[in-house]
Symmetry: C2
Subunit: 262 residues, 2 copies
DNA sequence: TGTGCTTATCGTCAGAAAGACGACTATCAT
DNA sequence: ATGATAGTCGTCTTTCTGACGATAAGCACA
């Protein structure tokens, strides 16, 4: 600790903001809410809110996620200190659809909120395709927005987000893009049982590239612990019936699924 | 935002804690300071301190690093919002030795500090081997402690750290271990000019494994943008003179340097 | 009842990458 | 000179990857 007087510590407000990502219609989408009050009234923003006095950070993020999406939080028990870099928390909804929640980064520029000094601990949530979100909290509406349009190279792609949420969203998308390379996190975008083709569409949507179905199939089925066959099949993608899989125990992929380079 | 009343936002103290890592004598070491006052008086802790009212998070971390190690902060200009996931800040010392500073994670368990509600934004700093640290702030002394002994599987390896700093340190070490796989960050542990053998010793110390010198040499010299020869040679490692290199422009390694598995 | 369309899955082949390891080089200590 | 130490270049084998041919098994529809 420094010599700065701790008894007169400056008060900060601490919030959590959520980058909630899903894959719908072959596109990576982020959950946005419209702000109903100043500042940035009428702007789209990330869902979030204040951390309560007796609430941990992951707990607050889980509560906000539940309020905004209806996903019921199901924190991993015995997790120890929250905010850990270690693997995230699992969240289940009414249909027992799995979701993933992890801390992303913390944003604390002194002027990021014009009202007061706010430090926001951003979290990243990955969810399977959900029904249209029901607005919650003091947001007047909510929607899924294609992430590509929000973080595109040209900022003219749409209305900018409130506060520094554009930056937070970009960081969250980049985290998701890189993390599905070396972890089994892509399965968090899938329903409990899914086909190899559905998993491939997740990778294609998140990375924005086309992958060879044959090589992809060989790779994911050959990575130990990634996929476990359930025995069932489905034809919901059309064509020949496909084997159904669920996520295996592995959280780290070896070898990793490397993104095709330029 | 939620319906929680923002006008009565609960006050938090916000601190930065630093995981400062270096490689000395073939071992990964972390900078610790001894606490001179309660709570945890006499315990070893990570350096850190309160974020000041008009200071960004990276700025506070940079200031604390300077206070504790004498490294002069040199924040990347035009960085935009602090706390970004994007690449970190560069720090230079008196000898122009480069260092690396990036945000690690944020720890905010309600009871992590018995005095009050404190949210700590941990940062990770990677530095070349520095002279013995000069104690700064209200720490009565400081030392480099081998990281392996602090985060070993058996917690009997030494006195536990104050607060949740053991967990933070473990998270920082794991971040460093995984990040040198796919980024050129290992060069942050090296002096401005270094040999392939010195870089290999960094990987060996951080990962705690032995690497084949011949394959390592082939790999790092074959990765585009990783190393740039300076033209000079040195014999400071003994044996045949070795070529000197400096870090190349690449921040992301393609292909990555994968850690040998089990 | 085919025919065609779609997606799944298996196989083949060439090139790249990685691990194991031999061989040679250039300096220093004695 | 001799040995010790460390750097650097090659070789060989195995594994991984990307490109792509071929077959399988459903569905829609004539």
């Amino acid at each position: 600790m420094s010599r700065y007087d701790p008894s007169a510590f400056p008060p900060f407000a601490v919030t959590v903001d959520l980058v909630v990502l899903t894959v719908r219609e072959h596109a990576l989408c982020a959950l946005l809410v419209r702000r109903g009050e100043p500042p940035f009234q009428g702007y789209w923003a990330l869902p979030g809110g204040f951390v309560r006095p007796d609430e941990g950070l992951a707990e607050a993020a889980s509560r906000e996620l539940s309020e905004e999406t209806g996903l019921r939080a199901h924190p991993t028990p015995g997790q120890g200190a929250d905010g850990a870099v270690a693997d995230g928390v699992h969240v289940v909804g009414a249909q027992a659809a799995g979701a993933h929640l992890e801390q992303l980064a913390t944003y604390g520029h002194p002027q990021r909120d014009p009202r007061m000094r706010v430090v926001s601990v951003a979290h990243l949530a990955l969810a399977p395709d959900l029904p249209t979100p029901r607005p919650g909290g003091d947001a007047s509406s909510a929607r899924w927005a294609p992430a590509g349009e929000l973080i595109g190279q040209n900022p003219a792609d749409g209305v900018p987000l409130a506060f520094d949420h554009g930056r937070i969203l970009a960081d969250g998308v980049e985290r998701a893009r890189s993390k599905i390379e070396y972890s089994s996190l892509a399965t968090a975008f899938c329903p409990p049982e899914f086909t190899v083709g559905e998993l491939r569409q997740v990778y294609e949507a998140v990375w924005g590239v086309a992958l060879d179905p044959r090589n992809f199939h060989r790779k994911v089925t050959g990575t130990p612990g990634f996929l476990v066959p359930t025995g069932g099949t489905t034809t919901r993608q059309g064509g020949r019936p496909a084997q159904l899989f669920k996520a295996g125990g592995a959280t780290v992929l070896n070898p990793p699924m490397l993104r095709p380079e330029a």
